[in-house]
Point group: C2
């Protein structure tokens, strides 16, 4: 999907509070900018055809071998590479989900079925109806994390099924997820990771895959050289040496998200917004009452999005294009206390 993602800031000129992307944006980038400013010369040569050096450093950090790490042009390249490697598979996608799994599977001729729970996935695997399972964990857009033990049991039980677990938001939850070191022990598990979400530099595009050497070797065979540019590699190397996210207190972030959700759910005495449970800093909200967005009343997230952008400079993610979700769904990620208050205020005047 090219259009319809969040963070479509480029379409608006006036956004001052961006709730539409799941990227946490309170990182101080001063040191990173300074470093990159001194390293511009990296652009006058080709980057490493595969980012070996960065792969080696990531491997060392997480206690795996370099052959267990494949750095990609964002987690999105990882998704497309995996879908291509297993083209023609029968894939189950845990839904609702980030749309790129479905799109990558469609392009690479997978037969796709949606599954709304681990039980349903268990049933599909047991019946031999799928070759692959795609799970975003923590899930995007819901923010829910599946119990690690249950997920591990599925992966172990169905050795003939390849499980792709996208852990792009792993840093933003206190629930347990797979470590890279655990992951590479399982011959049928592919973990996807994001570097740029953690450090709030999504413009850089930097992700990586961890998996057993055998699985990852097959994926490397189909990739093009130089897909990660010199600037992204330089950014990754710096961020591994200088953890500029270390001041991020996840429990504070999650508490702020909880308060935001609570405030929205109670607007207008309740009945206007249904806020979904989440294990991370973003959440799904469903419009359940008629909002006074324009002259007319509306329960559409698309209408609400335009209203908030035009009147308040607030951007939310219209989530109606996620499979299984309806026109009333939108997704928001907690921002600063002040910005959260602004969003609540903007929503409040619509609940009357």
């Amino acid at each position: 999907m090219i259009e319809g993602h969040g963070d479509d800031l480029y379409k608006y000129g006036n956004i001052t509070a961006n709730f539409s992307s799941n990227v946490y944006n309170e990182i101080d980038h001063t040191l990173l900018w300074k470093h990159l400013g001194q390293r511009m010369e990296c652009m006058v040569s080709y980057p490493e055809p595969q980012p070996y050096t960065l792969e080696g450093k990531i491997a060392a950090l997480y206690g795996v071998e370099q052959e267990n790490v494949c750095v990609t042009n964002g987690a999105t390249e990882a998704i497309y590479l995996v879908a291509q490697r297993y083209s023609g598979s029968r894939s189950a996608i845990f839904v609702p989900a980030f749309s790129e799994y479905g799109d990558a599977c469609a392009i690479h001729k997978h037969k796709v079925v949606g599954a709304e729970s681990l039980e349903e996935i268990n049933g599909l695997c047991k019946a031999g109806e799928v070759d692959m399972v795609w799970i975003c964990n923590p899930n995007n857009p819901t923010g829910l994390v599946q119990p690690k033990g249950e997920l591990a049991s599925l992966v172990e039980r169905y050795q003939e099924v390849v499980f792709v677990v996208d852990q792009s938001y792993e840093f933003f939850t206190l629930k347990e997820v797979f470590s890279a070191a655990e992951g590479v022990q399982m011959e049928n598990l592919i973990l996807l990771h994001s570097m740029t979400k953690r450090y709030a530099v999504p413009g850089v595009r930097l992700g990586y895959i961890t998996a057993s050497a055998a699985l990852l070797g097959k994926i490397r065979e189909i990739r093009m050289p130089w897909s990660v540019n010199a600037f992204a590699i330089e950014t990754g190397l710096f961020l591994l040496r200088n953890d500029i996210s270390r001041s991020t207190d996840i429990s504070v972030l999650l508490e702020r998200a909880r308060l935001l959700g609570e405030s929205i759910a109670s607007l207008g005495g309740g009945g206007f917004f249904e806020v979904g449970e989440t294990h991370t800093h973003y959440m799904l909200v469903k419009i359940t009452g008629e909002l006074n967005c324009r002259e007319e009343k509306s329960a559409s997230a698309a209408v609400l999005k335009e209203h908030l952008a035009r009147k308040w400079g607030i951007l939310i993610r219209d989530a109606s294009n996620f499979a299984t979700l309806g026109q009333g769904h939108f997704r928001i990620a907690t921002q600063t206390g002040e910005q959260n208050t602004l969003l609540v205020k903007a929503l409040e005047e619509l609940c009357m």
Copy 2:
């Protein structure tokens, strides 16, 4: 191909004269570095999912529509996208050629045949034996440009064959090549272009495809979002506004290349090196005599490459891995007069 390309500087610590890459490297990047230093904030948001703005500016510059331009993560992404879009085709590749055409075709299950001349390609098309033709023009590694009229005739004559013409080095020749505006008029022609070769920033990875809206629309359908990062987009936008290559005098560059080739051909009284004809700033050289590289004599480009790197800090491109070339072939691009003199001196002492 991941390994075996030129510009493998990252493997050596001591290179001071790099003849191995075809990137012209006498551009003054001061203004670009300064601009990028002020635009670091572009990295805290997602880039445009497809680089619409940059595509629009390129289209305006070359007098085509925005729908005729697709900006890619280097010309390499363009090659892989095109191969994927026409997966399973019967492809003729003009050889010797940049290895990525063959690799991308192999990954996407093309049946590949090499062709060493336009006549041979004409024969294959006439016999209905190929669906696609890949030509690098100016050619890499030879530097030769095929006559535009002959190429255009082929494209017009065989409407059922898709011609992919990679013009990554178009800026570095005085021979006539297709303009984007001419190209989009032909329904079966795909032109590939490089932005970063012209401006000597290959670390950035920035290329683009121009083609008819119908052809390009089909290619866009299979691409992932955000494959060009925010930094590359910012670089492209700057370079369109500020042509920092305008001081490059191509005729001076080509004359310098001619002198370099002449000097090498005459070393040791002739008979040691055969220098290929070229229409651009790089050329193929074949070792035709035994060189005194180590204790033993050798006519291998691989041995010569190691010798020059270790002893002189000079990097050349071992070209023995190009189809149809042998172990004695290497490729060099002209550098400054001083560096060219150093290379000639380094080669001279081996011719005795």
